[in-house]
Amino acid sequence: MTKMHAIEHNRTDTVAPGGSIIDMQNVVKTYETTSGAFTALDGVDMKVAAGEYLAIIGKSGSGKSTMINMITGIDRSTSGSIVVGGVRIADLNESGLATWRGLNVGVVFQFFQLLPTLTVVENVMLPMEFCNTYPSRERRLRALDLLDRVGIAEQANKLPATLSGGQQQRVAIARALANEPAILVADEPTGNLDSRTSDAVLRQFSDLADTGTTVIMVTHERDVANVVDRTITLADGKVEADVAVLRQPAKAGGPK
């Protein structure tokens, strides 16, 4: 009980309606390379409201992935301030960051990145085990429920290698949702999927945003712009455009 309390304590605070769940101010990220310093983010300011469905768009090398790494705490900024859900990322050590991320940020990768030696359901249970959320007996049930939500429960006991790309990406989404994170971050989630499966994935993100989850998607595909609430375009590490759009319903198809 105490443990659960501690974990709950580590969870991102609820954010008042209309408040920012992500607040980046003057964030700079510079990499030292053999050919000199390379600035991936150059004084980026960005605020994201809770429940917002946001796409970060840009060409290769524009700083999109670095931006995601900053928000998720996967990498640290060179300067500037990043506050996510009231937590200043820079204040956390590596262990603290890992647990915080596991509890508060679900990450979906371009190449699905499921662990090949764990079954589908075990992959989904993994974040719960890492962060010690939910009583251990409930974890499997919850994982099965999440798999059901993404329409892939029947594959639960298979190993990832036996699944198609689209199926693997749905497992990855279920895994990202395992700890009911307030934020879902997806790095090129449709990059390796056919258009039908891509639409289904985007619709799931839209549904999540509708239920209050903040969804941030990095993509170089400009045509996803009309399925999100807002697009931020990056170029050379700077915000080039920040446009609010009227979200249109995603195309039908994909999982029921």
């Binding site: 991320r101 030696t117 190993l159």
Partner: protein
């Protein structure tokens, strides 16, 4: 691409991957070190043993003739085929050390300045020893607790205890160290023999054939012919002794042990080479794209393969430069240790040039040969294959049956489940790591199993024998006389009267040939006249039955005697000689006897009839009624002095505890060598595990990044990786135990056969198993910690971007 540039690339590649380069160097160095140690020891010891032995100018044969007269010497010198002749006596006297009488072999020399056969070397002091003094063998100092200038109290069979000064020290390379045999060795002149109360008679005629041939049947035929001539001249021939020609008494054992150790060290080298091949395979995997690029700009397979082979040659060269000198040095130490145990002097530590040739070519070429298929495969890749390779040759998990079965495995927390399933992802690599570790552990456990097995073996002296002391008398003495003498000694539970005679397998029309070496111990064969209902011994029966009262021609032989006549079985008749006569005996049983040379047991009654010693005994086996060690020792001393006081001449008195002590330490060197070899294999095993885990972790870098991204802390990552390494260690532990069983049986049979011609019973050492369990856990954790820490500390974004 010019040759210079290619080598430049290899050089920079190695510099850029220093960890792996060092790893390769250590692995090959360890393998080369092991082989260098054993091969140099083997070559030095074999040569030095032969040199030590041949330097003594060993006699081809010894004829026990009772008294070697000038006429005998003249006949022998003129006999065709005889090159050297010398008369000598080896007498078993007794020496007082503290309060105890120990056996003392006295070598009576006709002329110290004209030693012709079985010579020995002066170390210090007088030469020849002045009358009334003796020289002692240098290893006897420890037993006699005296040095040159000191004196000892000696009693010969027919003399009184006489104080004799030690006037010098000699080295006799044909004798086992005195402390091993618990006996003194002394060298005296004929005049001193007289002073000790014995007649100035030399009993043994030692001969050497022209050219000292190695041909046993030639030695036998010539010796038989000479003995027949001497017999025809009226001399009594008691025995012919012909040990294996030109062979040191311990030659076979030493060669056997060294061969065993050599095979294990060669195995260590081969395993290290296999490990090298896998590391090279991993290096090539990393280089696949570069190979593609080189090929796309015009490189041919014949230009690329030599680059990698040259790198291996370079590794072999450096490893040989480290491993060979270190191994040769260790070989010197080991040779020294064994030489002390065998009482040899090492005149030269120089390993022969063939040893260097083998070592250098093994060091240079074995890694290349083993890695050749991998290098050729990598170098033959086409440009398209090479540049489309993803860099990490990860086969997908989940498609095979085993993967599916592993997928069903449960009952652990997910991190542990992950560790266990990860173990089986690269099965070839797992197999290699397991094999390497299991061999190390198996050898370690075997070493200690053999130690325990030997302890049990030696322990059988106490469980199969129920007497406390055995006295051998110089002459067959009336049992009544002995009984009367011992009546005054209290705390004697029982005295049994035995007959004893040296014996040999007799051949029709020929004089018996014994295989005994001139020390009288090695290769000896004795006939015991035994009370059929003896309470003093109970040996396990191998076949047939034990003696019964009334048996007149029945004989039971022990396994060492059987080894002398391998075709013999229960129901066969054998001719045995005793006291100059021979008689047919029917083998009714075979027993397993630890702690004695070859023995044939017949009933006391049958023995007396054969030897004409009715009512007399030459050996007493006595049990005391005290279980307290000090008191027992006192009783034994009392018996000894009482017999002497009664004028009964004791040849030797051997308390059972002394017999056990004499056997106790014989195999310790072998055990320590087995353990040392196992340490080599264990080092290679740990290197193998470290390499396996490093490669596993590198391949899974991105996966570990994902785990970090979804909430795994660095500590947990460390735990998962170390768990995997320790799990491999534990699997290898189980395999090591299984492997140790046949190894223990194999080595136990070699050790047992060398000592008592019977295999050591398989003994499993719980200590060894437990100790190796703890070691393997600690070592696997240690081997895994480095790659695990590196993985845990790697920034998540770098891990995610890893290709």
């Amino acid at each position: 691409m010019s040759i210079g540039l290619r080598w430049e690339k290899m050089y920079r590649d190695m510099l850029g991957d220093q960890g792996r380069a060092i790893f390769l160097l250590i692995t090959v160095s360890v393998g080369i070190f092991g082989v260098s140690t054993i091969l140099s020891t083997y070559s030095i010891l074999t040569r030095e043993m032969q040199r030590n032995y041949m330097d003594t100018n060993p006699a081809s044969a010894t004829i026990d003739i009772g008294e070697v007269t000038d006429a005998v010497l003249a006949t022998t010198r003129n006999f065709p085929g005889i090159a050297e002749v010398e008369a000598r006596t080896v007498m078993t006297a007794r020496v007082k050390v503290g309060d105890d009488w120990l056996p003392m072999l006295l070598f009576v020399i006709d002329d110290f300045n004209d030693l012709r056969l079985n010579s020995f070397r002066k170390v210090s002091g007088a030469w020849p020893p002045p009358t009334g003094t003796l020289l002692i063998e240098h290893t006897a100092e420890r037993v006699l607790k005296q040095k040159e200038g000191g004196s000892v109290l000696i009693r010969t069979p027919h003399g009184l205890p006489t104080k004799v000064m030690i006037s010098g020290i000699v080295h006799d390379a044909t004798l086992a160290p005195a402390w091993q045999e618990q006996s003194g060795y002394g060298y005296i002149t004929r005049e001193t023999l007289v002073a000790l109360g014995e007649p100035p008679v030399l009993e043994e005629l030692r001969i050497q054939l022209a050219g000292n041939p190695a041909n046993l049947s030639l030695v036998e035929d010539t010796t038989q012919a000479l003995a027949t001539v001497l017999r025809e001249q009226g001399y009594t021939i008691h025995e012919l002794r012909i040990p294996p020609p030109r062979t040191h008494p311990h030659q076979t054992q030493m060669t056997g042990v060294m061969f065993l150790l050599l095979s294990f060290s060669v195995m260590a080298l081969l395993l290290s080479a296999v490990l090298v091949a896998t590391v090279v395979a991993a290096m090539l995997t990393k280089q696949v794209r570069e190979i593609g690029i080189m090929k796309s700009v015009g490189a041919r397979t014949a230009q690329i393969a030599p680059m990698y082979l040259f790198m291996l040659l370079f590794v072999g060269l450096i490893s040989s430069a480290i491993g060979i000198p270190a191994g040769i040095f260790a070989g010197w130490q080991f040779a020294d240790m064994v030489a002390k145990l065998l009482n040899l002097v090492i005149y030269s530590y120089q390993a022969p040039s063939w040893v260097y040739a083998i070592l250098i070519s093994s060091g240079l070429f074995i890694p290349i040969l083993v890695a050749l298929p991998t290098v050729m495969k990598g170098s033959r890749l086409t440009v398209r294959e090479a540049i489309t390779d993803f860099g990490v040759g990860e086969s997908s998990f989940g498609e095979g049956r085993m993967d599916t079965a592993l997928g069903r495995l449960g009952g652990f927390g997910l991190p542990y489940l992950l560790a266990i399933r990860n173990m089986f992802r690269r099965r070839g690599r797992l197999f290699l790591a397991l094999t390497l570790l299991a061999f190390g552990g198996g050898m370690f456990i075997t070493g200690l199993n053999i130690r325990d097995g030997w302890e049990n073996f030696v322990g059988r002296i106490n469980t199969d024998r129920f007497y406390d002391v055995e006295f051998t008398l110089n002459d067959a003495t009336s049992t009544d006389r002995i009984t009367r003498a011992l009546e005054t000694v209290s705390k004697i539970r029982k005295v049994e009267f035995w007959g004893v005679s040296s014996t040999a397998v007799a051949r029709d029309g020929e004089i018996d040939i014994a295989r005994t070496y001139p020390d009288g111990g090695h290769g000896s064969f004795r006939l015991f006249g035994t009370p059929p209902n003896t309470e003093m011994i109970k040996f396990p029966l191998l076949s047939g039955r034990w003696l019964r009262t009334g048996d007149t021609n029945a004989v039971v032989i022990n396994q060492t005697a059987r080894a002398m006549m391998p075709m013999a079985k229960v129901g066969d008749q054998i001719m045995l000689s005793q006291e100059g006569t021979s008689k047919p005996w029917l083998i009714v049983g075979m027993v397993e006897e630890i702690g004695s040379a070859a023995v044939a047991y017949v009933t006391k009654q049958a023995f007396d009839e054969a030897t004409g010693t009715d009512g007399a005994a030459k050996m007493l086996r006595i049990s005391t009624s005290t279980s307290e060690a000090t008191e027992r020792k006192e009783v034994i001393r009392k018996i000894d002095s009482t017999l002497s006081d009664a004028g009964i001449s004791v040849k030797r008195g051997v308390p059972l505890t002394l017999l056990r002590t004499a056997m106790g330490d014989h195999v310790l060197v072998l055990v320590s060598m087995l353990v040392a070899t196992s340490a080599l294999l264990a080092v290679i095993g740990i290197l193998g595990l470290a390499s396996t885990m490093t490669m596993n972790v590198i391949e899974r870098t991105r996966e570990l990044g994902i785990m970090r991204a979804i909430g795994a802390t660095p500590k947990l990552i460390l735990k998962i990786i170390v768990t995997e390494g320790v799990a491999i260690g534990l699997m290898s532990w189980v395999l090591a135990i299984l492997l140790s069983l046949p190894l223990s049986i194999l080595i136990g049979s070699i050790v047992g056969d060398m000592s008592f011609k019977t295999p050591l019973a398989l003994t499993v050492s719980p200590f060894a198993i437990l100790f190796w369990f703890l070691m393997v856990i600690a070592l696997s954790a240690l081997a895994t910690l480095l790659p695990a820490r590196r993985a845990a500390k790697r920034p998540v974004h770098e891990a995610l971007a890893y290709e």
